[in-house]
Amino acid sequence: MVAIKTVNLTKKYKDTVAVDKLNLQIEQGTLFALLGVNGAGKTTTVKMLSCLTKPTSGDAFVDTYSIKDRAADVKQIIGVLPQETAVAPKLSVKENLEFMCGIYGFSKDYRKAKTIELAEQFGLQNILNKKAGKLSGGMQRRLSIAMALISEPSILFLDEPTLGLDVIARSELWDTIRALKGKVTIILTTHYMKEAETLSDSVGIMRDGKLLITGTVQEIIKKTNANSFEDAFIAVVKEGEK
């Protein structure tokens, strides 16, 4: 079943085409990694799919809801982890989780249960009363993902989730993302080839707003006759230059 489908999705900013007639299909329960160099259009694509910005033309369907006409419905079923950590710094870990529950209109009892469940899932039980602003970068990112999952979204957008994290924190976050696979459709943007290789079911490579190729990591390596995924990525991007 298709979780996300884009139809000639385009975003223009004055004379710049940030995303150019993107046609993409992502299967439910899979992890799709969107790759590309800086300015390729990855974040703009995520912003359009999560209803943060409106497309200039074309449309996208998130679980059959059009991002243009049914933004409110789309917002009910998605979770977003922005590029930087998105937590309320002066609120405790518990208050941050309860805050997100409140925004989705959960009852008091459900809010409590959900907070405990996510705190356990993300290893936050011992720091529930600590202010989010005082946590390490890795823990803040963990809390940030927990907040994105609180509404039990069927589709989760992770925009460069491990950016700026140390090796250990990155590895822990990969474990967390792996655990979500199959239950949630995940769209991940990243600059790390290893991350895409390790986590994704399929990959899309963008350049200058255009989607150059989609497929599994192995398919892309095979198509480009490369020795590694990084070489394959470079070959695809350089080919796109021509």
């Binding site: 999560s50 209803c51 943060l52 409110a72 917002k75 009910q76 998605i78 977003v80 982890l81 922005p82 590029q83 930087e84 950590t85 998105a86 937590v87 309320a88 710094p89 002066k90 609120l91 208050e95 805050f99 997100m100 409140g102 925004i103 989705y104 209109g105 907040m147 994105a148 509404s151």
Partner: protein, 243 residues
Amino acid sequence: MKTLTFSGRCAKEIIREPLNLFFGLGFPVVLLLLLSAIQSNVPVNLFRIERLAPGITVFGLSFMTLFSATLIAKDRESSLMQRLYTTPLKATDFILGYMLPIIPIATAQSVVCYTVSVFLGLPVTVNIIKSVLLLIPVSVLYISLGLLFGSILNSKQAGGICGALLTNLSAWLSGIWFDIELAGETFKKIADLLPFVHAVELQRAVINGTFGKSTTHLYYVVGYTIVITLLAVLMFLRQMKKQ
């Protein structure tokens, strides 16, 4: 429900900032004590507690602009706002969520100012309660100014403009510290065109029991509150669309 959740978060963010507590509650009280001490040694009509208390109470509200402007500007710069824009929160939830929690903070500040003033000799009358109630539109005016500046400025600019410029302007042009007539005709004309002096005079009239003769001041305050609030809402919606 969603509005209350968001406003609860905003209230916590404001209250948990120690500098906010100092400026919001401590600073006006320090001014009241200091100026009352000067008044007891060198009696000046302007610093009589009946005139000083309403002035300082209104001046204290100028910090509400600083609180709301910096909170909104900081939120706009953070990824949290981006996340919240992808949730079912609507524009009205954001606007009310930012404005509502500051009203009780402003009211608490006014109550503290008048309570301290009572200890400094302000007669205890029902006028104090009327005065606190009539401070609500003044509070909304200052909070809306915060919403307006927070929507168009970054957090550094909002801190500078609201923390230094606006607090000083609203103090000089309100007749709290000196009689504005002494500063010349042009200065008085400018002050009369702005809402600050009217807010102070309205409060003084209520405390002195002459509110009936001061409806012009009320019209100025309410008029400015409506215009600034509408402008602030428009600017907030504009930045929301831009994000």
